[in-house]
Structures are given as C-alpha cells and as structure tokens.
C-alpha cells in the first residue's frame, strides 16, 4: 500500500487521491486561480519532504492516531513483511542498489549545500538584475510624472499669457477707434469751419461793398461850390484855432 502511496504522490494522479495519503496537501491553491495581472506573489517555501522521499503530509496524516513514531513503525513493519514474504527479493540487484544508493546519498549530503547556495546565488543575481530593470523603469516613470506636472503648471500660466494678449489686442482696438473718432470729428469741424468762413466772408464783402457805394455816392454828390466853401471854412477855423493856442501859450 505504501508503494502505491509513493507512486501516486510522485506521478500526481488526482483520481487516486483518497488512498494516496501522501497527497494530503495543505489547501494551497498555487497557480490554480485565474492569473491576475497584479505583481506575482513570491514563491513559497515549497512542500516539505522527509528523508528525501516521503512528503511531510504523510507524517501529519498519521500523527493524530499514532504519534511521532507511527510512520517509522509502519515503514519497519512494511519492510519486514516485504522481506519475509519475499515480495522484495534479495538478489544481485539488491547489492547494486545498496551501493549506488549509498554513493548517491553521500554525494547529495556532501555537495548538496554548496550546490544549493550556488544556485541560490545565481537566482539572486537574476532577480536582482530584473529588479534593477524594474527600478529604472520606475525612476523613468516618476520623472515622466514630474515633467507632466510641470507641463500642467505651465498650462495654467498660459491662460494668463492669453489674458495679457487679449488686453493688448483690446487696447489696440481702442486706440484705433479713438483715433478714427478724432479724425472724423476733425474732418467735420473742418467742413463746418469752411462754411462759417464762407458766411463771414459774404457778410464782410456785402458790408464793404455797401460802404464803398455810400462813400462813392457821397463824394460824387459834393459839388464844386460846396467844396470851395468847405475849404474856406476849414482855413478860417484853423486860423482861429491857431490864434487860440497862441493866446494860451503866452497867457
């Protein structure tokens, strides 16, 4: 029965599990659930095996009923029964098996630890290299995030830039508008001034013309005789004035 146990545990057929006491594995669902994309959990310790060929679960199975020495007694009884019924025949192959078995066991005991540590070191180097790659990638991504944040901050400033530009443009528009307004007013005033000057001119010319015409008529209406009389009168007036002034000067 124990041979079947070992055979079953080694080939791992699930269908003969009930009698395969060695298959009483802890309910560890290793890689049986659907694979998740989250970081893969680190590998566990691994199934324990006692004396190189018997899984630990077998000992745990028999412990409640027979204690710690149960499996060993079972092994002893089993081997004695096999030998006595000669289900296991001792022949030349037994000697070969014992020799080879001894050599293998001694080799494993002697070179096992060093080999294991060398393998572990190799694994360590590989995983350190991969970790390094991952770390570098993380650093790159962190830098990229920083750059992105900076860009976002810059975009915030861009709205201020646009505001300033909009202010500039509106100021230009305002200036232009005022300039044109002033120009229009100037032009209108010019035209109005022209009309005003025209009217003034007309009035002045009429006045002057009238004055000239009146003068001309008056001058032409003065006859020669009247002119003579007025001249004599002016001279006599001047004489009287001169006498008066002379009298005033001497008095």
């Amino acid at each position: 029965m124990l041979s079947r146990v070992i055979a079953v545990s080694a080939s791992g057929l699930k269908s003969s599990a009930p009698l395969g006491a060695g298959l009483v594995q802890a309910s560890r669902s290793l890689h049986t659930s659907s694979p998740s994309l989250a970081p893969v959990p680190p590998l566990p310790e691994g199934g324990k095996v006692r004396h190189g060929i018997v899984p630990e679960e077998f000992f745990q199975l028999l412990y409640p009923k027979t204690g710690a020495t149960g499996p060993y007694m079972l092994g002893t009884g089993l081997s004695v029964w096999l030998l006595s019924k000669e289900l296991y025949v001792i022949n030349h192959e037994t000697v070969a098996a014992i020799t080879v078995g001894t050599v293998i066991v001694l080799a494993v005991k002697k070179f096992g630890p060093s080999f294991a540590s060398a393998m572990d070191k190799m694994e360590e180097e590989k995983s350190a290299w991969i970790e390094d790659v991952k770390d570098q990638a993380m650093v790159c991504y962190a830098d990229a995030i920083e750059e992105e944040k900076k860009e976002q901050w810059r975009v915030e400033g861009r709205s201020m830039l646009f505001d300033a530009k909009r202010n500039n443009v509106s100021m230009l528009l305002e200036t232009n508008y005022r300039e044109r307004l002033h120009h229009a007013k100037h032009e209108v005033k010019r035209r109005l001034d022209y009309q005003l000057a025209l009217q003034h001119l007309k009035v002045r010319m009429e006045k002057e013309h009238m004055v000239n015409w009146v003068e001309k008529n008056v001058v032409s209406s003065i006859t020669a005789q009247q002119e003579q009389e007025s001249i004599v009168k002016c001279i006599s007036d001047l004489n009287v004035l001169a006498k008066n002034i002379q009298a005033k000067a001497t008095a």
């Binding site: 041979s3 070992i6 055979a7 545990s9 080694a10 080939s11 791992g12 057929l13 699930k14 269908s15 599990a17 009930p18 395969g20 298959l23 009483v24 594995q25 309910s27 560890r28 290793l30 890689h31 049986t32 680190p42 590998l43 566990p44 310790e45 691994g46 199934g47 324990k48 095996v49 190189g52 060929i53 899984p55 006595s84 019924k85 000669e86 289900l87 296991y88 025949v89 001792i90 022949n91 192959e93 494993v108 096992g112 294991a116 572990d120 694994e123």
Partner: protein
C-alpha cells in the same frame, strides 16, 4: 484531499471521464506537483528524489514476475 473516505464513491462518480477531462486532470496533477516541489524558492532534493524513488518502485513492480524466480524459498 478534502474528500472523506466514505465519500470516495460519489467523488469518483463526479469526475470528468471524457478524454479531455482525463488529460486535463493528468496535466493539472503534474502542474500541482511541479508548483509544490520544484518551482519554489528553496527547493530540496525531495522534489527530484521522489520521482526517482517512485520510478524505482514502479519498475520493480512491473518486473516482479521476472524477479520472483530469484527467490530463496518457494513457500512463504
């Protein structure tokens, strides 16, 4: 396994005996063995030696009919 001894009959009856099912069960068992004893961080000699020991036993069982002629006594 989480199957009690009394429930073996029902459990075996509920297994998938199509070719696909049988192959998939062998595949799953193989992967379970690998994941438990070989693809671990600190594996020991047990993972390999259990396979070799079971190979030894199985080959002895298959060649018993030939070996029993080397027996020292005829009646046990």
């Amino acid at each position: 396994m989480e199957v009690k001894l009394g429930e073996i009959g029902t459990w075996v009856g509920g297994r998938d005996f199509t070719p696909n099912g049988m192959i998939s069960s062998v595949r799953k068992g193989y992967e379970r063995y690998l994941n438990k004893y070989i693809y671990v961080k600190k594996g020991g000699i047990g993972g390999l030696s259990m396979v070799l020991a079971s190979y030894m036993v199985l080959s002895y069982v298959w060649s018993f009919d030939h070996i029993k002629h080397d027996r020292m006594r005829k009646y046990h």
